[in-house]
Symmetry: none
Subunit: 74 residues, 5 copies
C-alpha cells in the first residue's frame, strides 16, 4: 500500500474515533439532562462540572477529528 | 491498494463514524425526553443545555460525515 | 485491490454505519415511549422535541445509507 | 481482491449492519412493552408513535439488508 | 506495505483508541452528574474522587492521542 492510500485509510479510521467520542459526550449531556429534570434547582450549581466533563471528553474526540481532517484534506 | 480504492474504503469507514455519533445524539434526546416526561414543567428551562449538548455531539458526527461524503463523492 | 472491489467493500462498511445509527434512533423512541407511558398527558407537549431529535439522528444514519447505496448501486 | 470476492465480503459486512439495526428496533419495543406493563391503559394511545418510531428505525436496517441481499444474490 | 504507510495506518487506529477512551470519561462524568443532581449536598465531598477517576481514564485516552498525533504528524 502506498503512502497516499494509507493516509486516506487512516483518515477514515480516525473519523470513526470521532464518532466513538460522540457517544461519550452524549452520555454526559444525556445523564445531566435526565438528572436536572428531576431536580432543576440544582442544575445551575453543577453547570461548571458539566462543562469541565464535556470539555475533556470533546477534546479526545477533537484530537481524532483533527487527525482525520488533516490526513484526508491536509 | 491504489489511491482511488483507498479513498472509497476510507469513505466507508468514515460513514461508520457518523453512525456511531448518532448513538451519542440518540442518548441525549432519549434521556432528555424520558426526564421531561417525568417533570414537564422543567423541560423548557433546560432547552438551552439540550441544544448545546446536541450541537457539540452532532458536530463530531458531522466531521465524520463530511470526511465520508468528500471522500466518496469529492 | 482494484476500484470496483473497493467500492463494494466501502458500501458494506457504510451499511454498517446505517445500522449503528439505528441504535441511536431506537434509544430516542424507546425512552420517549417509556416516559410517555408513565405520564401520557405530557406526551403531546414533547412531540416537537421528539421529532427534532429523531430527525437529526436519522440524518446521520441517512448519510451513511446514501454512501452505502451510492457505492453499491451507483 | 477480485470483484466477485469483494461483493461477497461486502454482503457479509452489510448483513452485520442489519444486525446492529435490530438492537435499535429491540430497544424501542422493549422499552414500550416495559412501560405498557406498568400502565396498560395508556398503551393504545401511544400505538401510532410506536409504529412510526419502529418504521424509521427498521428502515435504516432494511437499507443495510437490501445492500447485503443485492450483493450476495444480485 | 512500507513503513511510512504503516505509520499512518497506525495513527488512524490509535485515534480510534482515543475515541473509545472518551466513552469511559463520558460514563464517569455522566453518572457523577446524575447522582449529584439527586443529592447535591454530597457532590463537593466526592469531587476529589471524581477528578481522580477522570484523570486516570483520560490518561489512557491521551496515551492513544499522543501515539496518534506523533505517528500522523511526527
Amino acid at each position: 500500500m502506498d503512502v497516499a492510500s494509507a493516509k486516506l485509510i487512516a483518515a477514515g479510521l480516525a473519523a470513526m474515533g470521532a464518532g466513538f467520542a460522540a457517544i461519550g459526550v452524549g452520555l454526559i449531556f444525556g445523564m445531566f439532562l435526565q438528572g436536572a429534570l428531576r431536580n432543576p434547582a440544582a442544575a445551575d450549581k453543577l453547570g461548571a462540572r458539566l462543562i469541565f466533563g464535556f470539555a475533556v471528553t470533546e477534546a479526545l474526540g477533537l484530537i481524532a477529528a483533527v487527525v482525520a481532517l488533516a490526513l484526508a484534506f491536509g
